[in-house]
């Protein structure tokens, strides 16, 4: 009998997808990884809602009400939750909007921007409510581990995951603690 595979869920909240791309930078090593882990809910699969999982990887900070909901679902379903990358850990580039009033940001883009026709601020019921600020994920749910970098490299993802796959505590080498 082959051992059951470790279930990993991933999501991108207010992030640029770069952390997800960096995960794919494992390249051929993905083949051996997929022998031991399987993706559950993730932008890489067509599983749209998080099931109970061993590990959850969160990219991006929290910028709207839907992000809050997704994050809570991940916390409720994932045994170990990891904040991946600058945006999840402290808001990152998106949190630069925190220095401005949200309404001013919306006005700039949809009302006073260059070449805008029908200026109006989108407000349809289908659009999730924006939060006043962009928050780090730890502001919303407890986080078990932080994997810094913008993005962390594929090697660093593996350094983090390897021990977890065998039930050990991950410890990143100092060399791998970087913030760019």
């Amino acid at each position: 009998m082959t051992k059951p595979r470790i279930k990993i869920a991933t999501t991108s909240l207010a992030g640029c997808f770069g952390c997800h791309m960096s995960f794919l930078d494992m390249d051929e090593r993905l083949v051996t990884l997929f022998e031991r882990v399987e993706f559950n809910c993730s932008p890489f699969t067509d599983i749209k809602q998080c099931e109970p999982c061993d590990i959850g990887l969160i990219e991006g900070g929290v910028c709207n009400a839907e992000n809050v909901q997704v994050l809570r679902t991940f916390r409720a379903n994932c045994t170990t939750l990891i904040a991946v990358g600058a945006c999840a850990i402290n808001g990152g580039v998106p949190a630069m909007r925190n220095y401005f009033d949200l309404q001013d940001c919306l006005r700039e883009v949809y009302l006073t921007g260059t070449g805008v026709t029908n200026p109006q601020i989108p407000n349809d019921i289908e659009l999730p409510l924006l939060l006043d600020k962009v928050y780090p994920v730890s502001g919303v749910v407890p986080i078990d581990y932080y994997l810094p970098g913008c993005p962390p490299s594929a090697d660093e993802f593996l350094q983090m995951l390897e021990p977890l796959l065998t039930g050990k505590k991950p410890l990143l080498q100092k060399l791998h603690l970087h913030y760019d």
Binding site: A14, F34, T117
Partner: protein, 491 residues
């Protein structure tokens, strides 16, 4: 997410949320009447970032490195478009030959990796397993298991593009590289040789990827009617109308192939393009102002570029373009799924162009920074990103701080087209039907053809969900279908 079903249901709302295997955060909603006829189908982009505002007050030289963090799939495109704008801000007209070639090499690496990622990692499951196949298998892990030969080559094509980016910018994602008027580091001979060592394989695999896509498209007549839209096309072309990604003039053509304009100077883009805001999406709707909102929407990206260009400068890709033209009997090909075929013609062109550049002695040159000129109050940088024409426009004050920014990203230009495609597929496949997971995936297949990058598009963060919803004529939500955890449908 389940919602209660108030009675009597006159229309139903179905939402696909999130749309997966695309980059960005959006959803699709459908309104159906009691007989399951489609009343409305929309693609909503649900995230907002506000980059244009928060970049204000930052020094202009930081811009390329901020702005690339809009998108982790095509960061190099944003860095380069911004760098071109920054060159103008510093009054630099011409880069040194080595700097220009390095930037072009970087850009080819970026397009190669993005195109490979898009087809192999995100879209190929739809074509290799079928649009309505088992959702649990429909992903890159499934493809690696079932078709390891094909998938591994795709993974390595992407890897090679990433290695080029790493050699030039120091990192695979969000490195540095461009500086005002040039590049910050030469490509060493050792780095060049390491890349050259693999180029024969890369050329081979790009041809195989193209052959696979050409076959998929030509052998499936049903693909020719899937979300097919006659549309206008916009792209940049080189001076002789050739396929060009880094620098050239704008060309727009009608669906019948006639010129709307050609070799238009992109610095005057405000004369030809406007963007409409609609209340239900954070992504704007650009159009060619001369044609108006109704007629002026257009498509960008691989299909636009291959339709629009007169030739490709590298022989294998040019031969592939000729086959594409022959398939369309000399006319424009409007098949939305032909985006994938066009994309792989471009990937092959990138491989050939990389081969040429790596053999060019100037690629390892060390003269990388041009003489600075007179500072200018505004800079406009435009390139062809993997997904289409990308515009960056910055204004600065005397201290060099940004006072205004405008970004028109590729996916935004395809907004109307993606909505039209979703509507067309909804009408063709879902109208009057009991809606199933397999049918819902058809809508996602249409969106995926565009390789939408919704992070870029909203200048927001995140991902793009898919969920289908029904509401009554008054807009009240009556029913909602969502793909559940393992792809099953919840009502």
């Amino acid at each position: 997410m389940e919602q209660s079903n108030p009675s009597p249901p006159t229309t139903r709302r179905i939402a696909i949320d999130p749309i997966t295997r695309v980059e960005g955060h959006g959803k699709i909603t459908l309104l159906l009447d009691a007989d399951n006829h489609i009343q409305e189908a929309r693609l909503h982009i649900v995230e907002f970032r506000g980059f244009e505002k928060f970049i204000q007050g930052r020094p202009y030289w930081e811009v390329p490195f901020f702005v690339q963090r809009l998108c982790g799939i095509c960061p190099v495109s944003h860095q380069l478009a911004a760098a071109k704008a920054v060159d103008q801000l510093t009054g630099i007209r011409q880069l040194t030959p080595s700097a220009t070639k390095l930037r072009r090499l970087l850009h080819f690496g970026q397009i190669l990796q993005s195109h490979a990622l898009h087809f192999f990692h995100l879209s190929s499951p739809d074509f290799l397993f079928g649009f309505g196949s088992n959702p649990a298998q429909r992903n890159i892990a499934g493809v690696l298991e079932k078709y390891p030969e094909i998938a591994l080559k795709g993974v390595k094509l992407r890897k090679y593009g990433q290695q080029i980016i790493q050699a030039i910018t120091g990192k695979r994602i969000h490195g540095t590289g461009t500086v005002p008027g040039g590049m910050n580091k030469p490509l060493s001979i050792a780095e060049r040789d390491a890349l050259l060592a693999d180029i024969t394989d890369i050329l081979q695999w790009s041809q195989e990827a193209l052959a696979l896509n050409e076959h998929i498209h030509t052998a499936h007549p049903e693909h020719h009617h899937f979300a097919t839209l006659p549309s206008n096309y916009l792209s940049m072309t080189g001076a002789s109308g050739e396929l060009e990604f880094y620098h050239g003039g704008l060309r727009a053509r009608y669906a019948d192939g006639n010129n709307i304009f050609d070799q238009f100077d992109y610095c005057d883009y405000q004369q030809i393009l406007r963007e409409e805001v609609r209340p239900w999406s954070y992504m704007k709707f650009p159009y060619l102002s001369a044609l108006g909102i109704e007629q002026g929407w257009y498509r960008v990206g691989p299909l636009a570029r291959i339709n629009n260009c007169n030739m490709i400068s590298t022989p294998l890709a040019e031969a592939a373009r000729q086959r594409f033209k022959a398939f369309g009997q000399g006319k424009f090909v409007h098949h939305t799924l032909a985006y994938h075929w066009a994309r792989m013609i471009e990937a092959l062109h990138c491989a050939e162009a990389i081969d040429e550049l790596l053999h060019d002695p100037e690629i390892t040159g060390t003269e990388l920074i041009a003489e600075k000129g007179q500072h200018q109050p505004q800079g406009i940088g435009v390139i062809e990103a993997p997904r289409g024409t990308l515009f960056h426009h910055y204004q600065i004050n005397e201290e060099g701080l940004v006072t205004k920014a405008n970004l028109m990203v590729s996916t935004t230009s395809n907004n109307q087209a993606m909505n039209e495609s979703v509507r067309s597929v909804a009408n063709q496949y879902l109208d009057g039907q009991e809606i199933t997971e397999a049918l819902l995936n058809h809508l996602e297949v249409a969106v995926r053809a565009y390789d939408p990058c919704l992070s870029c598009a909203t200048h927001a963060l995140g991902k793009m969900p898919l969920q289908v919803t029904l509401q009554d004529v008054n807009g009240k939500v009556i029913d909602q279908l969502t793909k559940g955890m393992s792809g099953e449908i919840h009502r």
